[in-house]
């Protein structure tokens, strides 16, 4: 028990003193998670909205595929992306292996189904009276679409926060694609895994604290937005 308490205080010291390797992992995590979240939101949100809003042939089957992708193992994503961006792979010439950009690709694949599926479910749950109300107030197709999107904004925020939770705590993809290179592709989670293996609990706890703080700030922002 003592080593945990000791580790906690050492962790605070590392963070306050601006330990280079610790803060490098924090920055790498923020970079890959923000970029992957941005790309998956920009692409997944319209897809999820269309899947939830419109009725079309094959919708049920598409939802089943999407729901299955929610449980996609991260190591499998890592394997597939690795195969594509490694030197022999079809995208090998871009030199993405062991780079933050490579990790972003993998994390985007991980986050896209989360954003899409939760957005689609939220949109499907729109009160049927909303559309009729908007029509009765004179709204045309464009206004109906934008107002519906605004009405489900909290559901969409939940989708984004969920996706953020997945990408910021992911280990498999970051490890396989990034290679856990210190000061380069080492993220909080891969660093925690490494430091724990080495018995460096303080470093692990420090990074864990940062991860929890980031999650707390994200949820606090969500809560603030809900009140607006």
């Amino acid at each position: 028990m003592d080593f945990i308490v000791e580790g906690f205080f050492k962790a605070l010291e590392l963070l306050i003193n601006g330990d280079g390797s610790t803060w490098s992992a924090v920055l790498a995590t923020l970079k890959v998670s923000v970029w992957s979240l941005l790309i998956s939101t920009v692409t997944g949100l319209p897809c999820g909205f269309m899947i939830g809003y419109f009725d079309f042939k094959g919708k049920k089957q598409l939802r089943t595929v999407l729901d299955t992708l929610l449980a996609l193992p991260t190591v499998f994503i890592g394997l597939v992306v690795y195969a594509f961006i490694s030197r022999q792979g079809p995208l090998g010439e871009f030199g993405l292996l062991f780079t933050l950009s490579g990790i972003v690709i993998g994390l985007t694949i991980l986050a896209f189904p989360v954003v899409t599926a939760i957005t689609a479910s939220t949109v499907e749950g729109i009160d049927p009276d909303l559309k009729l109300t908007l029509i009765s107030l004179g709204a045309g197709k464009r206004h109906i679409l934008t107002t519906c999107l605004w009405e489900v904004r909290y559901g969409i925020l939940t989708a984004i926060v969920n996706a953020y939770g997945r990408v910021s705590t992911e280990v498999g993809i970051a490890m396989m694609i990034g290679g856990n290179i210190k000061y380069h592709t080492r993220t909080i989670t891969t660093a925690i895994a490494l430091e724990t293996n080495k018995g460096m609990f303080a470093d692990g706890i420090a990074l864990g604290l940062v991860l929890i703080t980031i999650a707390f700030i994200v949820n606090l922002s969500l809560s603030f937005l809900r009140k607006q």
Binding site: D127, D129, L130, L132, T133, I135, S136, L137, G138, A139, G140, H143, T147, W150, E151, R153, Y154
Partner: protein
């Protein structure tokens, strides 16, 4: 005020949900500037009809004319003239102020918004200072209903359609909704069509009533409907066994006709100068409700004969001479040949 064209003319309207026919209207006119009541049980087709009148639902077959012009494409121009308040109005997840001005913003009519919201909130009995900046979830059921009505009234619509506007509100809100709706008609000549189960309230506000049963319209207002099962007796008559065993003899229906209607004018009360003993269905029941028609001052009485409701219409003099009051036992009758089938 005279109008050459009615607000609505519906011709040969048929509409289906799946294979079930939910509207079957041969001909219906609604006068411009009138206040029309829509009476019918749940699932009778009232809401479907109101959605069509709001140009929010296209009929499977038939034509809708608005002020003499056929509206087949439900153009944006006509949709901006008509507004519908649904039974459970949806308030946008915004402030009361934002909810009320939503329709105006759609119309790009954003002058003097604060003053207009103040006026319309006061029309529905809500104070601007206390309510304008409340969030949608900070309102009671009655307040939400009145805010939703205010969002329609601010548009000064040519037609205001109200679907069960007082179904979940208290007496005070019901009174305010009545007053605000009447003001719209008086100030801007708005045509009102109101569906409600509260007949007392509906008769107090509407000038004419239409009843609807299984999608079929009865322009004369509420009528006596007799539904099956029926038993065939001989070639020319059908029998409906009453709950107390008493048979009702009805003339035989035509092909594909399932329900019978007895018009108010064909139901007789004893003593009425008619011989209610020969060849007539003679029934005893009690007066369950009486409503005064606002325009004609006629009295519409509902007489309960076990589980069947018979509806009759009397002049004030007739009602006086029979000494009718709710609860009074009376005998009524109708001729089997006066029954219409549909």
């Amino acid at each position: 005020m005279t109008h050459t064209n009615p607000a609505y003319h519906l011709k040969n309207i048929r509409h289906y949900y799946g294979s079930q026919k939910v509207l079957d209207i041969d001909d219906l006119n609604i006068k411009t500037g009138s206040i029309t009541g829509l009476i019918g049980s749940n699932g009778s087709g009232k809401s479907t009809l109101l959605k069509m009148l709001a140009f929010a639902l296209k009929p499977a077959k038939g034509q809708i004319f608005y002020k003499g012009r056929e509206e087949s494409g439900f153009s944006p121009t006509v949709r901006l003239k008509v507004t519908l308040l649904t039974q459970n109005p949806y308030l946008l997840k915004r402030s009361v102020f934002e909810n009320i001005i939503y329709g105006l913003k759609i119309r790009k009519d954003t002058n003097h918004l604060e003053a207009r919201v103040k006026t319309v909130l006061s029309t529905v009995g809500l104070d601007y200072g206390s309510f304008a900046h409340r969030r949608w979830h900070q309102l009671s059921g009655g307040e939400a209903q009145r805010v939703a009505l205010a969002a329609r009234l601010i548009l000064k619509p040519e037609v205001l359609l109200l679907d069960e506007p007082i179904a979940s509100v208290d007496t005070k809100s019901a009174g305010l909704i009545r007053k605000a709706s009447l003001k719209a008609r008086d100030d801007w000549g708005t045509t009102l069509v109101i569906a409600s189960h509260d007949l007392q309230w509906l008769y107090s506000i509407t000038e004419n009533q239409i009843s609807i049963f299984n999608g079929k319209i009865f322009p004369g207002g509420i009528e006596t409907i007799i539904t099956g099962p029926f038993e065939k007796t001989g070639d020319k008559a059908f029998v409906k066994k009453h709950a107390n065993g008493q048979p009702l003899i009805l003339k035989a229906p035509g092909p594909n006709e399932e329900n019978a209607v007895i018009r108010k004018k064909d139901i007789l009360i004893e003593p009425s100068g008619h011989d209610l003993t020969k060849g007539i269905n003679r029934l005893s029941g009690h007066v369950a409700a009486m409503h005064l028609e606002k325009e004609t001052h006629h009295i519409v009485a509902t007489v309960l004969v076990h589980d069947l409701s018979f509806v009759l219409k009397l002049t004030p003099d007739q009602a006086g001479s029979f000494g009718l009051y709710p609860g009074k036992n009376i005998t009524l009758g109708f001729y089997p040949g006066d029954v219409e089938w549909f």
